[in-house]
């Protein structure tokens, strides 16, 4: 670790903070509070991981214990964020929860035609909303262990399966997906994180499908980049774009403009191996910069979320890993040094240990102008016996083929890294965070997977949906009193920008503090949060400057009222919804 760079980062922050952290100091007194209202809201649905058949069933179920995802998006443009929640076991329906506008939801998945996907050969693993044809209506993509499903939003509450005509027919064991416009042509492309290599786990012919090394595996599914042609179809450009060399067990992917050049870059979190950071060349290709930019990591990347947590104008990256009594990996908070390098400051910021981490998301929960961080965790909370000692012979028996499913012991009723408390880190505005999950009421012990953040009641406070594997969903309503002022911007791209404005950057200055947000297309494991840009303003009652850097390259200054959700259309400024 480069001590000088860390010192510089903290020194800069300290100098900057001296004049701007007054609200944050107040904010530290503001008690962030959530109430879990999943049942009352009508969305406390149970997730089911896929049950496999045959003698390898238990091990395969263990290795595929994800699939509990959530995607936030206003699919019917009624001004309220809706939810899509996945299930994974055979025949189990997915859920499309229409927001009734009063913090209750109605499951309309069956009527909308999007409940399916968990057929005997395919496992639903992730979902994202994105307007692939720029018609102003959010379409829905289901990632699967299998072929994906692309649903076109017909605009009448119904969706139509257009997967085949879109050309998305390639089989992969996809566990994560994001939508972003990597070539800035105004059409949203798709990046898939593929866990296993493309073998059908439902009908396993060869049992040698597990990682060939638990820290440096090279037999995973890698990633697939699908370019949106703008004609309703997608083409696989993985090799052409320079991403074909990723052979690891990609568990999550995230995007952002990490070098402030107007192009979307990508971070690939790999289980059982080193993560990858690719910078966008601006010509349809990427260059890998991992060695120079981040270097050594802890080999179990589980999540990618992107935010400028220290308000220095550069996007940082948070990656969860595994930290438990038997494995001390520590998460990685990659602080962007602004010179092409990133320094892991997880330990220094207090965000290192979150157990067996899954999704993590930044969000300003008390509207103090500094983004906090919520992290979910936990694997297989079951009986009193631990599975971990059974793994030792697998790891240490000389010559044992660990790729062979048959060489792994059944987990049975044992617990792995279970019953772990969730973590909520309050940003102290001085380069560090304080863990406040218990006080905030979110320290549940479920086996968390995805985090969907959004302002579901349009009150300016970010709420949280937490999905759990083989357990019910939790819905945390933000009831924090005395939050700061806020704005939320729903951006609508036009012309050469994609309509969802994914990749747009918003730069806001208020109360002496400048913050940035980028609209993302599904960052974070098993989840997609709101595409509204949410800003906390602290005490500031007005915005000094607000600029939108659209994907097209247009830079637009707008004036918006505080404490409101505002719609902004590229080239038009503020519009009515």
């Amino acid at each position: 670790m480069d001590g000088l760079k860390i010192f510089k980062a903290y020194f800069t922050l300290a100098v900057f903070c001296a004049s701007t952290c007054a609200w944050a100091a107040d904010g530290a007194q503001t008690a962030i509070r959530f109430e879990e209202i999943g049942a009352k809201a009508g969305i406390r649905v149970q997730h089911h991981t896929r049950r496999f058949h045959g003698k390898n069933a238990d091990v395969l179920r263990m290795f595929t214990s994800g699939g509990s995802a959530v995607a936030v998006g206003d699919y019917d443009n009624d001004g309220y964020e809706d939810l899509f929640v996945t299930d994974s076991d055979t025949g189990k329906p997915n859920h499309l929860f229409h927001n009734n506008g009063n913090l209750t939801f109605t499951d309309v998945a069956a009527a909308a035609g999007v409940a399916g996907g968990n057929d005997p050969q395919s496992v639903v693993s992730d979902a994202i909303w994105f307007d692939y044809d720029n018609d102003g209506k959010l379409d829905l993509l289901l990632a699967r262990f299998g072929t994906p499903i692309l649903y076109h939003n017909e605009g009448n509450g119904k969706f139509k399966d257009v997967t085949a005509s879109a050309g998305l027919t390639k089989f992969a064991n996809t566990i994560g997906v994001i939508a972003f416009d990597f070539d800035n042509d105004g059409h949203l492309d798709l990046l898939f994180a593929n866990y296993f290599r493309p073998v059908n786990l439902q009908d396993l012919k060869d049992p040698h499908v597990l990682p060939n090394d638990l820290d440096n595996a090279t037999n995973g599914g890698g990633v697939t980049l699908w370019r949106n042609t703008g004609k309703g179809t997608f083409e696989d450009v993985t090799e052409k774009a320079g991403l074909g060399k990723v052979k690891g067990w990609a568990l999550d992917v995230g995007h952002g403009d990490f070098n402030n050049d107007g192009l979307q870059d990508i971070y690939i979190a790999c289980d059982y191996g080193t993560d990858h950071l690719f910078m966008n060349n601006g010509n349809g290709t990427f260059r890998e910069v991992t060695d120079k930019a981040t270097g050594w990591d802890t080999k179990k990347g589980m999540n990618v979320d992107v935010a400028d947590y220290d308000n220095d104008g550069w996007l940082d990256i948070y990656v969860t890993n595994i930290t438990d009594e038997y494995m001390k990996e520590c998460n990685m908070l990659w602080h962007n040094s602004g010179d092409g390098t990133f320094i892991d400051v997880a330990k220094e910021t207090g965000t290192c240990n979150t157990g067996w981490g899954w999704a993590a998301k930044f969000g300003d929960f008390d509207n103090d102008g500094w983004q906090d961080l919520f992290v979910v965790n936990g694997l297989r909370s079951a009986g009193p016996e631990s599975y971990v000692p059974l793994l030792l012979p697998v790891l240490t028996t000389p010559g044992l083929d660990i790729t062979d499913v048959n060489n792994w012991p059944d987990i049975g009723g044992r617990t792995w890294s279970g019953y772990q408390k969730k973590h909520l880190f309050h940003n102290l505005a001085n380069g560090s965070f304080k863990e406040i999950a218990a006080d905030a009421g979110v320290d549940n012990e479920m086996d968390g997977r995805g985090i969907g953040m959004g302002d579901f009641d349009n009150d300016g406070r970010l709420d949280i949906v937490q999905t759990n594997a083989d357990q019910p969903l939790l819905f945390y309503h933000n009831v924090t009193a005395k939050v700061g002022n806020w704005i939320e911007l729903k951006l609508i791209g036009t012309g050469k920008s994609n309509r969802d404005a994914i990749g747009a950057r918003v730069k806001l200055t208020a109360g002496g503090l400048t913050q940035i947000r980028e609209i993302d297309g599904g960052n974070g494991y098993s989840s997609q949060s709101t595409r509204r840009a949410h800003f906390g303003l602290g005490h500031a009652g007005k915005i000094d400057r607000l600029e939108i850097w659209w994907p097209s390259g247009r830079v637009e200054a707008v004036s918006v009222p505080v404490n409101r959700v505002t719609y902004v259309e590229e080239g038009q400024g503020v519009i009515k919804r």
Binding site: L214, K300, E325, Y326, M327, K328, V388, L395
Partner: protein, 252 residues
């Protein structure tokens, strides 16, 4: 006559390899290696140090200094390959086995978390082989301490305590050395790891009686609860580099 006798004597010395100005080959290699190391010429240093170890495999110092050079050059796999071949050629060398085990330990901080487990287990295997060849203070102390690095869930701390008790027995029958304080510290840590704080304190107090200047023992005895826990857990952090330099054994 006297002159010719001296000449004969000299020739005999040369013939028998005992000429005092002529270093044994392995020692000459060792000196060359250390000289190269001092100028950060790792390539030359490692080559000569390997020759030194190969020429005198049971020499703990050669093996230890070779590993320290490996740590500096980060060529951990080279060391593992070298020791693998060397132990195959010298299967009865206990100290070579010991250094082989330490070579696995040396690589741990540079490895991923699961590879760390594999490396630690391989190290234990070599430490055990060393012990089987020659039970000694260093062999028991090394394996005993090694067990203490394992997470509690694997229940190996009790094995560590047993080895460290043997190390204590040996050191009580030996001439006193400064490095013996390490066994007191580790034995106490082992008791702490087996949830026997009373015995831990007894071990540390006994150590302090014999080594009253030991800051490590003083610190342990002055801490309680989470502070003590944090201290001991930091000692056994698998990601931190363990000092495997054995020079105490020949400088004390």
């Amino acid at each position: 006559m006297k002159k010719s006798l001296s000449l004969v004597w000299l020739l005999l010395l040369i013939a028998s390899g005992l000429f005092p100005c002529q270093l044994p080959a392995s020692d000459a290699d060792y000196q060359q290696g250390m000289k190269a190391l001092s100028s950060n010429d790792f390539s030359t240093a490692l080559r000569y140090l390997e020759l030194a170890v190969a020429g005198d495999p049971d020499n703990l110092r050669y093996g230890s200094d070779y590993r320290q050079a490996i740590i500096r050059s980060k060529e951990f796999d080279r060391a593992l390959k070298f020791f693998d071949q060397a132990t195959a050629q010298h299967p009865k060398s206990a100290n070579l086995r010991l250094n082989y085990g330490f070579a696995y330990v040396d690589k741990i901080p540079a490895a991923g978390s699961i590879t760390q487990v594999i490396l630690a287990n391989n190290a234990l295997t070599e430490f055990t082989r060393s012990l089987e060849l020659k039970p000694s203070w260093i062999a028991y102390y090394t394996r005993g301490t090694s067990y203490l690095f394992w997470p509690k869930i694997f229940k190996r701390a009790a094995l560590g305590v047993a080895d460290l008790q043997r190390a204590m027995e040996i050191q009580k029958s030996e001439q006193r050395h400064r490095y013996h304080v390490k066994a007191y510290i580790a034995l106490g840590d082992g008791y702490w790891k087996t949830d026997d704080l009373v015995k831990a304190r007894v071990a540390w107090e006994a150590g302090l009686k014999e080594f009253p200047a030991s800051a490590a023992l003083q610190q342990r005895l002055s801490l309680k609860g989470d502070e003590l826990k944090n201290l001991i857990e930091a000692q056994f952090d698998p990601a931190a580099r363990v000092n495997t330099d054995l020079r105490d054994l020949w400088t004390d």
